[in-house]
Symmetry: C2
Subunit: 307 residues, 2 copies
């Protein structure tokens, strides 16, 4: 079907966006299958070759918590110089040591917008997490390493329900105050809707945090991810996290809490005439290849339609 | 998770929308399984009980083409008086005869926005389809029966690619000229994106067809359905077709060309604080029950998350 989607721009949207690809990290850490390191390296190389401008490669979290990414250092060694500009998740000082030893230049830390998730995921409190991140961020910045900060549970929390917008803004501001260059506002359980996205971005704006420092990270648990991207675009956000092939969500699972699929995002951006630099056929081929390694179809609608 | 989605209205959207439920017709006609007539009747009753204001019940199309709905007359007899206000699809004069005999008061006809689909689906041409519909619509109106007109392939066509917006407007206007009270603009292959939706609604407006005469009918083939609803809401459209549980799309199929799931639409509307009258838990229970009859999980994200 040539000429599809038909390109019909909508007024007032950004001309260009940056897709921050999280499939190799956020995607694979939520898949049951253990993927060989060589295959992960090939996956990352193929994502870069498909034109994705930022490809988060892995996480230096303790293997006890995320066995899927226990090979983080091996993967980065395999990638060699070509991996040095790829961001990696770094949960603590020890993770930073490994990243610095490998000569990496971009890290991400992972904070919580809610008390309960801070306790469960970080073994901290909402307040104490900043003191926990501070030395890691400080040392990274001193070494010339750029720091992104994820904020999880920005739209809702499985234990606390709705999360007050002011609370998210406060958490985000404290992470920026530590020195993070970009916040990725995550709808970890996928409950947010379009008006909520707009209100959150506007609340950050009112607090002096412009759209250039914000990224949006949506999960498709309730089918809202792409609608939420549209709200983000209308609010002027130009960076979106997405996962190739929707990695991280199982199409068979009762609660498929997967990431927004990069291909579905690309289809929307293509239709709107918004520049992104990704070659869709290459990306679909890559996700189809990875789905074979995982032994199940991709949850991405576009991959299933075109793959 | 109480209090979710958080209700955050977006300015300028309608306060209330009408969900036009197509699961029993458009959904079941695209499912492989043959559902017993008693089960269909129970399905329709449960959809009405869940608060759906319009439930299209079946189609009087020839059983040779759609064996899944060969029991249309039996179903409507089973529903009795409670079915008389439910719309049914009527492809031709013979179908209308059956609807009139049963005392039904709402029918829908099914047109094409493209030459190729008119040939393949209606065995007609783009131009000749109007002459084909004219006597059916005329007799229906004379009998006091209300007529909705579906227009398929409004955003793209598998053979012709992108469909010119002016062509869709022309087809729609001719169907309204015949006497249809509402047009349902269908993205039959799910390729449309947000800016395209806006442009199509605006083109109808420029041609004198207001938002009160338009409904939008999206398929989720490329994951765009709910994002397209958001564009429709922003353009002022207040009627959306949707299919309970996403019936009509198989979560396992390579090309899952299903309808927008009613539950996913309800989640968006709930988040935006837009009134719709549907009880989500009842609807999810109904779709879960129907998925058991079909022997596979629902493709609706909300049904999978809550069911």
């Amino acid at each position: 079907m040539s000429g599809l989607p038909m390109v019909v721009p909508a007024p007032g949207l950004p001309e260009k966006v940056t897709i921050y690809e999280v499939g190799a990290r956020d995607g694979l850490q939520n898949e049951k299958a253990l993927i060989p390191t060589e295959v992960k390296a090939e996956f990352v190389r193929r994502l870069v070759a498909a034109g994705l401008p930022v490809v988060e490669a892995t996480s230096f979290v303790h293997p006890k918590w995320v066995p899927q990414l226990a090979d983080a250092a091996d993967l980065m060694e395999l990638l060699g110089d070509s991996g040095k500009d790829l961001p990696v998740l770094v949960p603590n000082q020890r993770g930073l040591d490994r990243a610095l030893e490998l000569g990496l230049r971009h890290i991400a830390v992972f904070g919580s917008a809610t008390e309960t998730f801070a306790a469960k995921n970080l073994n901290s409190t909402l307040d104490d997490q900043f003191a926990m991140f501070a030395p890691t961020v400080e040392r990274a910045l001193a070494a010339g390493v750029d720091v992104r900060a994820y904020v999880s549970m920005c739209f809702g929390d499985p234990w606390e329900g709705a999360v007050p917008i002011e609370q998210v803004v406060t958490v985000g501001q404290r992470l920026l105050d530590l020195g993070a260059t970009q916040l990725s506002l995550g709808d970890t359980i996928g409950v947010g809707t379009a008006g909520h996205v707009t209100a959150l971005v506007e609340a950050f704006g009112a607090a002096g945090v412009g759209v250039d420092r914000l990224a949006l990270h949506f999960h498709d648990t309730y089918g809202q991810a792409l609608s939420n991207v549209q709200a983000g675009l209308r609010a002027g956000i130009t960076t979106y996290d997405a996962s190739a092939g929707g990695l991280g969500g199982c199409p068979y699972a009762v609660s498929a809490t997967g990431n927004l699929a990069t291909e579905d995002l690309v289809w929307l951006l293509d239709g709107l005439g918004i520049e992104h630099g990704v070659d869709l056929p290459s990306l679909v081929a890559t996700s189809t290849w990875m789905a074979e390694h995982l032994g199940r179809p991709s949850p991405s609608a576009v991959v299933r339609a075109l793959g």
